[in-house]
């Protein structure tokens, strides 16, 4: 009986070892999408005022700092990778990047996968508009 209980616990632990990271990844994915959506709305509001998007390539933290300072964000968003408020202008754990063209007429928001350089989500003003 003791063997069965110990074995069952090991089995449950292994099973949870597969399931929990998947749930965590799914939750992170939702939070990253939410962040991108909030930043996108803020960028559109910025564009309405300034007629251009922010002019240089920058990290997510820098962009959020800029948008927050200008009052374009309803509230400073949480960093999905740390689940804490973004440390602006420089957050050591930040996988969001902002890019624009030479004339600052378009933008690209890139969220990379943690611990790799893969693009997780991309939102830009010319092609990838929807995360749905």
């Amino acid at each position: 009986m003791k063997t069965r209980i110990i074995g069952l616990l090991i089995l449950v632990a292994l099973w949870l070892g597969i399931m929990l990271p998947a749930f965590s990844e799914k939750r992170l994915d939702g939070q990253v999408k939410e962040l991108l959506r909030e930043v996108q709305t803020a960028l559109q509001n910025y564009h309405v005022d300034e007629e251009l998007y922010p002019k240089s390539k920058m990290s997510g933290a820098e962009l959020i700092g800029l948008l927050d300072e200008g009052g374009y964000l309803e509230a400073p968003p949480l960093n999905p990778w740390t689940t804490e408020p973004y440390q602006t202008p420089d957050d050591p754990i930040d996988f969001l990047e902002y890019e624009t063209d030479e004339l600052a007429e378009t933008y690209t928001l890139i969220a990379r996968t943690k611990d790799s350089d893969e693009v997780h989500h991309i939102l830009d003003s010319t092609a990838h508009h929807s995360l749905e």
Partner: protein, 399 residues
């Protein structure tokens, strides 16, 4: 069957509703008696609207995610279209938009524009090719946003006739389908015809099954395949042979109590049987009852994993929990190859190790085969009941 239906219903809802489901409350703006929405599995892929008495009082559809490629100023616009019981538009609403909020507001406040579709039927809207001729004009100052909504609604209504519509697709039998039906018939012959004259051909049949069904076609029954069919639809038109094959492999054990697939057809089972015969007798390991008991729980845990992955759309590839994709070497992932290798290695020491202590598809087939006598409720029935309750709970919770 009920669990499969619950998974299917859940995914139909996700497909129709996308990430931002239409709520009954939203629809009450146009139809105050709205009580319940039910996904339409047909090509329109919208929602039937019911009142409290259960009477169908209308139909609702959203333009996203189907029309996500149609963009306005800086992205797509999600429109809600509500029809009455006579299939005529009662109203259109912008649910959400990636466009500049001030432009969206301009469009929303232009009632003349927002009511452009009112009174038209789904078919009439789908037939519109010249918006000007149909008196649908863009909103001045928010042209691109309003144009995007017009085009999205048009696309959404035309979608019912497009590639998503299954009507008109013809069933196409290819040589692979005939091979699968041949494999199925062969399995049936060996399962039901026990004469020695027939059984002496079992080895050549097994070789063919491994070579043709396993290595050449690689169409082994697997959770990834079955769950894909349940979640979306059975691809009857594209692979009729595989559908007939799978249906027969589930129906046969239910009606005849013969494990045709596991015992006679599955190349992975055949391979393990061969390994069992090849290995020296001294290599055989006898498992103690506790380990056997635990081993039998592994497929149960794997089926539970399949259930959760499907309901929550978790990022776990179901092909990786079974070895069957490894039969098509090109498409196999590392997890699949590991399960394949370890399963076969264990078969050297423990007879049919993977079949007994690892295969969730085998467990499912065995569950169907060993259905209880009408008046008894056995342990496996309790397991089945737990799965059913879990599926009902997930289906209800994730609504």
């Amino acid at each position: 069957m009920i669990i499969a239906w619950l998974i299917r219903d859940h995914h139909t809802r996700l497909r129709v509703q996308g990430d931002r489901p239409i709520t009954a409350y939203e629809v009450t703006v146009f139809l105050p008696d709205t009580h319940k929405l039910k996904p339409d599995v047909g090509p329109r892929a919208g929602l039937f609207i019911f009142d409290k008495s259960g009477e169908k009082i209308g139909y609702a559809a959203r333009t996203m995610p189907h029309a996500k490629e149609i963009t306005g100023y800086s992205g797509p616009t999600d429109g809600l279209i509500v029809f009455d019981a006579q299939d005529k538009v009662l109203g259109v609403k912008i649910r959400d938009s990636y466009d500049t909020p001030s432009h969206v507001e301009d469009v929303t406040l232009d009632l003349l524009f927002m009511e452009s579709w009112n009174g038209r039927t789904w078919e009439e809207i789908a037939a519109i090719t010249d918006f000007g001729a149909a008196n649908i004009y863009a909103v001045s100052g928010a042209t691109r946003t309003s144009d995007a909504l017009v085009e999205s609604i048009s696309f959404r209504t035309q979608m019912a006739k497009g590639p998503n519509a299954t009507v008109g697709q013809k069933v196409k039998f290819r040589w692979q389908d005939f091979v699968l039906i041949g494999v199925l018939l062969g399995g049936c012959i060996f399962a039901f015809w026990k004469s020695k004259r027939v059984q002496k051909f079992r080895l050549p049949y097994s070789v063919l099954s491994v070579g043709v069904f396993g290595i050449l076609l690689g169409d082994l029954l697997a959770q990834s395949l079955l769950i894909g069919w349940i979640e979306s639809r059975v691809p009857w038109e594209a692979t009729p042979g595989l559908v007939i094959f799978a249906a027969a492999m589930f129906a046969l054990p239910f009606f005849t109590k013969q494990p045709v697939y596991c015992q006679f057809v599955c190349p992975h089972g055949i391979l393990q049987r061969w390994l069992m015969k090849l290995r020296p007798a001294k290599w055989m390991t006898k498992l103690n009852p506790d380990i056997k008991w635990l081993g039998r729980l592994i497929p149960v845990f794997l089926l539970l994993l399949v259930l959760l992955v499907s309901f929550f759309r978790l990022p776990i590839g179901l092909a990786g929990i079974e070895p069957f994709d490894a039969w098509l070497i090109k498409s196999a992932g590392i997890a699949t190859i590991v399960v394949f290798g370890v399963g076969l290695l264990l078969a050297f020491f423990i007879p049919m190790a993977y079949c007994k202590y690892g295969c969730p598809t085998g467990l499912l087939l065995e569950f169907i085969r060993r259905r209880s006598a009408p008046n008894s409720f056995q342990r496996k029935d309790w397991v089945g009941l737990v799965f059913l309750i879990s599926a009902i709970a997930l289906h209800t919770l994730l609504k």
